[in-house]
């Protein structure tokens, strides 16, 4: 089937309407191009902008530009690349990444499992909101690094302490956005459902949950980002593995290229995990425009 070839293209968009006659490769490619024109354009511009970023970074560090901001000792992209090639031949670097991803996965999943239902319940029942909200608002602004000593004392193992800090990072954005989504649910829809005889459980399932889903996913995306943000603080406890620990250790040995490599690795991993959540969002909410 020629259509299969089109489907395996890296595009989740449903393309290639089944045609009885086998069209020429050129025609297929043309149609694929027309359908994905916007996406291709965005990708191309993205690549160009990243390349420009690298070029500017390269130039600023090569010529050690000092223009209020000083690039004298900032590592160049080539130095970071050298660190990178060294790192990928080191099995330890892979371990760092695996450990961090696992911690983020557990911390974030727990935050989603606790945060979303809690937000939904808080949005529906005023008393729960009144009880939980003040506590959440006090705990929310506390930076991850301040939690380090408490996290060590609270949990029996260090791995749990680390997961706890990433959990805290993602929990509050998820909770707050879920709450926000609940507060925006159109009361007319709720009343309509009630008039049609829907019970509480059905209203929750059919009205509140789908209506606040977009905000829940916003919360999940932000929460995932913040989980990575709190990674360095969390992995200060680790002492052995994790990309945050890698960056921290590079700092304690003043190795600037490795610090930059750690930063970029966190950035790329963060981007990847945000894309995963966005993808999941599209699967769950097919009615939403891209």
């Amino acid at each position: 089937m020629p259509a299969a070839a089109a489907v395996t293209e890296p595009s989740p968009a449903p393309v290639a309407t089944p045609t009885p006659a086998s069209p020429s490769f050129g025609a297929l490619a043309g149609r694929w191009y027309r359908l994905n024109q916007d996406r291709l354009r965005a990708t191309a511009i993205g690549v160009i902008s990243l390349a420009a970023f690298l070029l500017v970074w390269h130039l600023l560090t090569t010529y050690r530009v000092v223009f209020f901001v000083r690039f004298t000792n900032v590592p160049s992209p080539l130095a970071v690349y050298a660190s990178f090639t060294k790192a990928i031949h080191d099995p330890k670097f892979l371990m760092h990444i695996v450990f961090s991803c696992r911690r983020i996965f557990f911390g974030f999943s727990l935050a989603a499992i606790v945060g979303v239902p809690l937000g939904l319940i808080m949005g529906r029942f005023k008393l729960v909101h009144e009880v939980v909200f003040p506590v959440a608002e006090v705990l929310r602004p506390i930076p991850a690094i301040a939690w380090v000593p408490m996290a060590i004392m609270l949990w029996p193992t260090n791995e749990q302490s680390i997961v706890f800090i990433t959990f805290l990072g993602s929990f509050f954005p998820i909770l707050v956005n879920t709450l926000h989504g609940m507060s925006l649910v159109d009361p007319v829809l709720v009343r309509a459902a009630q008039c049609l005889g829907a019970r509480e459980r059905s209203i929750f399932r059919e009205v509140y949950f789908p209506a606040s889903l977009p905000h829940i996913f916003t919360g999940l995306t932000i929460g995932m980002g913040v989980a990575w943000v709190s990674l360095i603080a969390a992995e200060m406890i680790s002492g052995q593995y994790g990309i945050g620990y890698f960056t921290w250790e590079a700092y304690s040995l003043v190795q600037y290229a490795d610090i930059a490599l750690g930063m970029i690795a966190i950035g790329v991993l963060g981007l990847g995990s945000s894309l995963l959540i966005r993808g999941a969002g599209q699967l769950v909410m097919p009615w939403r425009a891209k």
């Binding site: 000083r70 000593p149 004392m153 260090n158 002492g239 700092y251 304690s252 040995l253 190795q255």
Partner: protein, 473 residues
């Protein structure tokens, strides 16, 4: 209205210009950033003491080219060396102080800085035997020797002087690199983890190996003296600053000399002041910086310390953390030499001397003079001050006597019988027998000695009791 405005502004600028010209010369303000480590007790005489007593202001040059320069001192405090190096690289700090390993990393990192290099210009404090760094365990744990920690989780701040000590200790004993499960934790994280028994042992630099036992939850089982590798904290400067204002760097060296003198003039007062400024308990400060203490404050750059730095470089190279670096080329003793000369002091005599200042005076309990300070002891009585005693037995006897009189005792110190390092009396193990009381850091050493003298090993409380009944010499 609008028409008046330009006239007004012109008049104003003319006036201000006139004012500007009327001044003889504009005073230039130069900011000098100094990175200190207040909580790292053996750097205090190069940092917090100078800051609090305004010693640098006293020595700053004011004549010649400095007549019109006003120095603004910007002191910044850090808990470890690397952030100081980072701020020095960024030219936010011109002078910084840190332990031996971070110092080498500092010198090496500056090699690639096109604006400036860094130079080691003086020493804050040192211990030729490597005391100051140590390994502590939780006080309830069954570990009494490094060998007991086989396969256990040991944390140490990587890249610190304590890390160097651990590696040297492992090398000395022929342990494989996986003998411990060695992980990196900062002092803050490691201390909390040890308290919570999440790790089996924590190795750290000054003052943690003494501070944590003093806080009551840890026990020291290894002291850096066992490695016999010198350790020190030193002062580094950016060469671009030092070349432009050499007299200021000399003034800084003079301030360190003055701070050391202030410390030795009244160690008890110094310890109390340092507690007030840094938050480190005075009893802990005193064990390092007091007479016969575990650190010697001496700004001269001794060859033995630079040899140790060369060894440290090799350790870092073996870990793949450093390329070529020669500590000998990185030392610049011209400033400290000049400071000594201008203060009419003999640099070479001080350089050759490795003497600390020692406990002296008259033992008020056993009624005899103190002849061997490293066999002596001290008791810090809250209102009466720090009293010296001639031997461990006298110290314990006096301790019981003072207690009986209802005095409040802060702390008592004795010395390890074989290693000569100062110990908290209540943390030591005592080999008691045949009228002899011999304190030890390690239980194992006390046991060996007790077998030799046909005695037994006692804890502090029992040793005090035995000193009252018959240990008096």
């Amino acid at each position: 209205m609008v028409r008046h405005l330009p006239t007004l502004s012109i008049a104003m600028s003319v006036t201000s210009l006139a004012l500007l010209l009327a001044q003889p010369a504009t005073a230039e303000t130069v900011t000098l950033g100094i990175g200190t480590q207040d909580t790292t007790t053996n750097t205090v005489t190069a940092g917090v003491v100078i800051r609090q007593l305004h010693l640098l202001e006293k020595y700053l040059p004011t004549d010649g080219k400095y007549a019109n320069i006003k120095f603004e001192l910007e002191w910044q405090n850090f808990t470890s060396g690397p952030p100081v190096t980072n701020a020095m690289m960024a030219n936010k700090l011109q002078i910084g102080m840190m332990g031996d390993y971070p110092l080498i990393v500092n010198g090496f990192t500056f090699e690639s800085n096109p604006e400036s290099k860094s130079r080691l210009i003086g020493v804050a404090a040192y211990s030729l035997s490597g005391s100051g760094n140590g390994i502590v365990v939780h006080k309830d744990s069954p570990y009494y020797d490094l060998a007991d920690l086989k396969g256990k989780l040991v944390s140490v701040p990587f890249g610190s002087a304590a890390h160097g000590m651990v590696l040297k200790a492992m090398q000395d004993r022929g342990y494989a690199s996986d003998f411990f499960q060695l992980v990196s934790q900062s002092p803050e994280v490691g201390s909390t983890n040890l308290q919570e028994k999440k790790i089996d042992a924590h190795a750290d630099f000054v003052p943690f190996a003494e501070l944590l036992p003093f806080r009551g939850f840890a026990r020291k089982i290894f002291d850096g003296v066992e490695t016999n590798l010198p350790t020190f904290h030193g002062i580094v400067v950016r060469t671009d600053f030092a070349e432009k204002y050499p007299e200021v760097v000399v003034a800084y060296m003079k301030a360190i000399i003055a701070a050391n003198q202030w410390l030795r003039d009244d160690p008890k007062l110094a310890a109390e002041k340092i507690q007030e400024w840094t938050g480190i308990s005075k009893e802990v400060v005193y064990i390092f910086l007091g007479p016969s203490g575990n650190m010697t404050t001496d700004p001269t750059i001794k060859p033995a310390l630079i040899d140790a730095a060369t060894t440290d470089v090799k350790v870092l190279q073996n870990l793949g953390r450093m390329k070529e670096f020669d500590p000998k080329k990185w030392v610049d003793d011209s400033y400290i030499r000049k400071a000594y000369a201008e203060m009419k002091l003999d640099y070479d005599a001080q350089l050759a001397s490795t003497k600390n200042y020692e406990i002296s005076g008259e033992d008020s309990f056993c009624r005899k003079p103190i002849v061997d300070p490293r066999k002596a002891g001290e008791v810090w009585v809250d209102d009466a001050g720090i009293l010296p005693f001639a031997s461990a037995a006298c110290t314990l006897g006096a301790y019981a006597d003072l207690k009986a009189k209802g005095k409040k005792i802060n702390v008592a110190y004795v010395f390890d019988t074989t290693r000569g390092i100062k110990l908290f009396a209540d943390q030591a193990f005592y080999a008691v027998g045949a009228g002899d009381v011999a304190p030890f850091l390690l239980k194992k050493d006390a046991e060996t000695y007790a077998t030799k003298i046909n005695g037994k090993v006692l804890g502090f409380d029992d040793a005090v009791k035995s000193a009252v009944t018959g240990g008096k010499t």
